[in-house]
Symmetry: C2
């Protein structure tokens, strides 16, 4: 059995899965572990949607930009910020909920993300592979329709889950010193940036990536192709509208 | 050695710590494990501020409503959404970053929270205890001042870390069925709410809590005392202003 340290240090994102299903009891066990994660005031203001049906996966696929994992993984988990259940409890108990505002969305999103990561680690400790889909916040409006999410519920992230059919190389990370600060934030000088990003820029896969995309620097691949300003602005407005529609913007 | 399953299922939030320090190498090892967590496009748009100095802890204490853990824990970790480092890299590499918008804040906050939870699990697997402080998003404006966070950086959550001086009982959770949905969201009927919240409401500590606070239902303790609408509205506006000031609201 691998130690938790090995599981965490050796992890890789898995994008290819075998056709084997994930046993229902194993899935429930993993979700149970996830729900022991810390939660604000023990309110548990999150929900997890488990999607396995191929028809629903096909409806979700374009909302995740047709990444293959959505239809190929046996299980799709959509983690949602959810004040709907809590609000219903309050109303049934003669209490007036005041959770229709931006702070409450952030609180519920934090809850959902701590559970999501705990579920992922629980899955990985059982030999399963996971992949996070960042597309959830881009197309939350349409995911809400497909998954029938009521007011008070917003999807925050999606995880594909299954048995690995692949053992990819571990990707690089910045040196730890690049992301930690002692006592207070020490802002970065140009020399720090050079130092911290040099290993990433010197990798052959990075150089290949720059070349394939006809760019001159790796950073330009991010700003001009992968995460463009125009897209970010568009999806920001979509997401803010989702917050309003789902009842989280009445401050 | 405990299995990951035992670590996750048996976890408790620890609010009392011994005076023993956390060894520097152990802390770095835990942070290294944390940084293997999934991150959007491998951008690592987060930073972790490690605060140990008692003067700084005293400055942070009132911003966390003087919860004792802040001054008593040997280590305080503030997890931040951080596009500042990435933006500096882009500018140094002739690339124009477009990350001054709401979506980019959410992306960076997700990154920060997945790292935070991985750090917590890594810590717990080493016998350390942790406590999340939800106050971070309430007083982000003042935490930014104390920790000298530049534009592009917003604190998202804070974790106190140390050796447990306490072995509290594990707190309750809703039944798993209350938070999971198969295929699509199944909205709650009154009978569902009754079923899912009955165990929590019937606990002697819940009943004591209602009595102490002179309320008639447990839900009222949340709506009228712990998480009041007026506070939520106030802190929503503070947090939205922080997003604007830190350069995340230009969509």
């Amino acid at each position: 059995m691998k130690s938790t340290r090995e599981i965490l240090l050796e992890r890789r994102t898995i994008r290819k899965y075998t056709s084997d299903p994930v046993d229902e009891n194993l899935l429930l066990d993993i979700l149970e572990m996830g729900c022991r994660a810390s939660t604000t005031g023990n309110m548990q203001v999150y929900s997890i949607i488990i999607t396995k049906e191929s028809d629903l996966k096909s409806q979700l696929a374009p909302l995740h930009f047709n990444q293959k994992m959505i239809t190929e993984a046996p299980v799709i988990l959509t983690f949602c910020a959810d004040f709907n259940r809590f609000n219903k409890w309050c109303k049934l108990r003669n209490a007036e909920p005041g959770y229709d505002n931006f702070l409450s969305f952030v609180t519920a999103a934090i809850d959902a993300l701590l559970v999501a990561q705990t579920v992922c680690i629980a899955a990985e400790s059982n030999g399963l592979g996971i992949c996070y889909l960042g597309t959830t916040t881009y197309t939350a409006d349409k995911i809400i329709e497909v998954l029938k999410l009521p007011k008070g519920v917003i999807p925050v992230t999606t995880v594909t889950l299954g048995w690995p059919a692949d053992n990819p190389e571990q990707v690089d990370r910045l040196p730890l010193n690049a992301v930690i600060h002692n006592e207070v934030y020490m802002d970065y000088e140009n020399e720090d940036i050079e130092l911290y990003y040099s290993e990433k820029e010197d990798r052959s896969d990075s150089k290949q990536f720059v070349k394939e995309n006809n760019k001159t620097t790796l950073a330009q691949v991010f700003t001009d192709i992968r995460y463009k300003k125009a897209d970010n602005v568009h999806f920001s407005n979509v997401l803010l509208q989702v917050l309003k529609n789902q009842g989280f913007f009445n401050q």
